[in-house]
């Protein structure tokens, strides 16, 4: 009797263990799948900057007092879109106090050209004198926002074309 009783108990333990490990496999499977979906949905998920930014976001949400002015992603200053090198913080503060930084980032000029733009803003738009900051600002602008060499009409920018299938009878 005892032996007969034991045998099915072993079996049931075995089955229970099998079910447990199967459940474990299921958990692992779903975890891996979830991770893949996450990476597929947002490839930046695996980058450190993503998590730094997430943390900052969470902290701002909780405490509301964290400064994002220093946050840089892919070499771009997040708040302004400026190339985050050299004296970009000067440009961020001095230019951004009157107009959107996009007005800086979409323009290209030589050092003389940027100087002319600043003089124009001072003459026409009541911009203040930049004093000792003018030189580093001009250097920054003429370095990172210099004119691009190009012909009378550049080719269509192939990187900007978003190819799609044109369906008949549209």
């Amino acid at each position: 009797m005892e032996e007969q009783d034991q045998l099915p108990e072993d079996k049931s333990q075995l089955i229970a263990r099998l079910i447990r490990s199967f459940n474990m496999l299921k958990v692992i499977f779903w975890f891996v799948l979830g991770l893949l979906v996450l990476i597929w949905a947002d490839p930046d998920f695996i980058h450190d900057e993503y998590w730094e930014a997430r943390n900052v976001e969470i902290q701002i949400g909780v405490e509301g007092d964290l400064d994002m002015r220093d946050s840089v992603f892919n070499g771009i200053h997040v708040m302004s879109g400026l190339v985050a090198e050299g004296d970009y913080k000067l440009v961020f503060e001095f230019c951004g106090s009157c107009h959107n930084h996009a007005l800086v980032t979409q323009n290209r000029a030589t050092k003389d050209g940027w100087k002319e733009i600043i003089v124009w803003m001072q003459e026409k738009q009541e911009m203040q004198d930049l004093g000792e900051y003018e030189e580093p600002i001009l250097t920054y602008l003429s370095t990172y926002y210099a004119p691009k060499e190009g012909g009378r009409r550049p080719p269509l920018n192939q990187d900007e074309i978003d190819w799609y299938e044109l369906k008949p009878n549209q």
Binding site: D42, A53, V56, E57, I60, G61, G64, D65, D67, M68, R69, S71, F73, N74, I76, V78, M79, S80, G81, K89, L90, F92, E93, F94, S97, C98, H99, N100, H101, A102, T105, Q106, N107, R108, A109, I117, W120, K124, Q125, E126, Q128, D129, Y133, P147, K148, G150, G151, R152, R153, P154, L156, Q158, I161, D162, W163, Y164, E165, L166, P168, Q170
Partner: protein, 420 residues
């Protein structure tokens, strides 16, 4: 939050990787007493960046979130060409070009328009209601294009908002004829120009500083199609486009069509308001080499805009299967003139195919054109569109004459198409 709204910020950086949301919170965080880099160095009178930037996160009031935002302070945004496919441009897809801040707290019941000036027989003030009841209403489709549309292609680059293709639209405008109002006041025979004044506010917040005050010669002002308008496509003007009242001069640089209009001066000289002089909305009197320094006295005011066209269908990037033919269509316009012919090329300008071209619904409205295209073999193509105006002038295939501020680029619109 509003990351979707700003998905097309021109530098592509702010929104990239969904950072808009974070930047928004940042602006809030920044307000709560955090350190401002170099804050101690900010000259007096310059505010640190703060709440203003939050505006940028909300998108442009009453505008499609698919407009390409060039600037949020002040608001400037253009429409991707494929969104201009409608024959009548919907209000939410009409571009935004502002020089100052949009006026706040507009009380329509108290809004007035004053006509005055050296060459006005009297000074008269009309309420909005006066204008609507005293004069005959007219509805016209008028093409309005920014003088700097296409600036982004000039080299050496010109400063300012780098408009590419979509600072143009042709909605229906409803209002009264400017000449009816001017005649009601009385125009002296020595009148030369009219200049407008609007209620937009200078970016520095100084309410006494005029942001922009341009206008047109008296001859253009007295034309049948020159309107004082309060409606776009049968609705109140969008706030961004001059609500509650503006001028509309079809075919001339959009900066002549003053927004938030509250005063018109009938001048006995060429109007001399801000942005009339220097190099603003002016081009050299003679052709110059790219990059030339042109003295101000050698610049002339832009009047009628040059012939131009857009391909509004298909959107660039179309892939077609085999020998399937497809329709190509769009609009064409030519300043004060009309468009006589329309052609497209699929071989980089070697051969041109004539398109079907409709008549304008009224003078100074854009015209619609279409054709069917079949691509001869698999490969990469560009469809180029070229309009010819009633005088025979054509759109150039390369960027036209360089000018210091990058105006009047009417080079052929090009889209990329593949057959596979």
């Amino acid at each position: 939050m509003a990351e979707k709204k700003n998905s097309k910020f021109i530098d592509g950086s702010i929104n990239r990787k969904g950072f808009m949301k974070i930047a928004g919170l940042t602006a809030v965080g920044a307000l709560v007493g955090s350190k401002i880099v170099f804050g101690e160095n900010l000259p007096e009178g310059i505010d640190p960046i703060g709440l203003d930037d939050l505006d940028a996160l909300e998108g442009i009031p009453d505008k499609s979130d698919q407009l390409i935002v060039l600037n949020s302070k002040p608001w400037n945004a253009e429409t991707p060409p494929h969104l201009l496919d409608d024959k009548i441009t919907p209000a939410d897809k009409f571009f935004v070009r502002n020089n100052g801040k949009v006026p706040q707290d507009i009380d329509v019941s108290k809004w007035t328009l004053t006509i005055e000036g050296e060459s006005a027989a009297a000074t008269k003030t009309y309420t909005l209601e006066d204008l609507k009841t005293k004069f005959k209403h007219h509805t016209l489709q008028l093409t309005v294009e920014c003088g700097g549309n296409g600036r982004s292609e000039f080299n050496p680059p010109a400063k300012g908002n780098q408009w590419s293709l979509g600072a143009v639209g042709c909605p229906q405008w409803t209002g009264v004829k400017l000449k009816d109002v001017l005649n009601d006041v009385g125009v002296k025979s020595n009148a030369v120009y009219i200049g407008y004044y609007g209620k937009d506010v200078h970016l520095n917040g100084d309410v006494n500083k005029v942001v922009i005050s341009r206008g047109v010669p008296i001859k253009k002002a007295m034309e049948e199609e020159s309107l004082i308008a309060w409606a776009m496509n049968g609705e109140d003007l969008p706030l961004m486009n001059g609500y509650p009242l503006r001028l509309v001069f079809g075919g001339w640089p959009a900066s002549t069509s003053g927004k938030w209009l509250h005063k018109i001066s009938i001048r006995d000289i060429v109007h001399d308001g801000p942005k009339m002089g220097g190099k603003s909305y002016r081009i050299p009197k003679y052709p110059v080499a790219p990059g030339t320094k042109v003295p101000d006295e050698d610049m002339k005011i832009i009047e009628s805009m040059p012939v131009k066209s857009l391909i509004t269908f298909p959107k660039t990037g179309a892939e077609v299967k085999g020998s399937t033919s497809f329709e190509v269509r769009g609009h064409a316009w030519a300043g004060d003139l009309s468009v006589k012919e329309m052609h497209v090329s699929i071989d980089f300008g070697v051969t041109w195919k004539k398109c079907e071209l409709g008549n304008p619904v009224n003078k100074l409205a854009w015209q619609h054109w279409k054709t069917t295209v079949t691509l001869p073999q698999d490969g990469y193509y560009e469809v180029w569109a070229r309009a010819t105006d009633s005088k025979g002038d054509m759109q150039p295939m390369i960027v036209p004459g360089w000018n210091p501020k990058g105006y009047l680029n009417n080079a052929t619109h090009r889209i990329a198409v593949k057959r596979k």
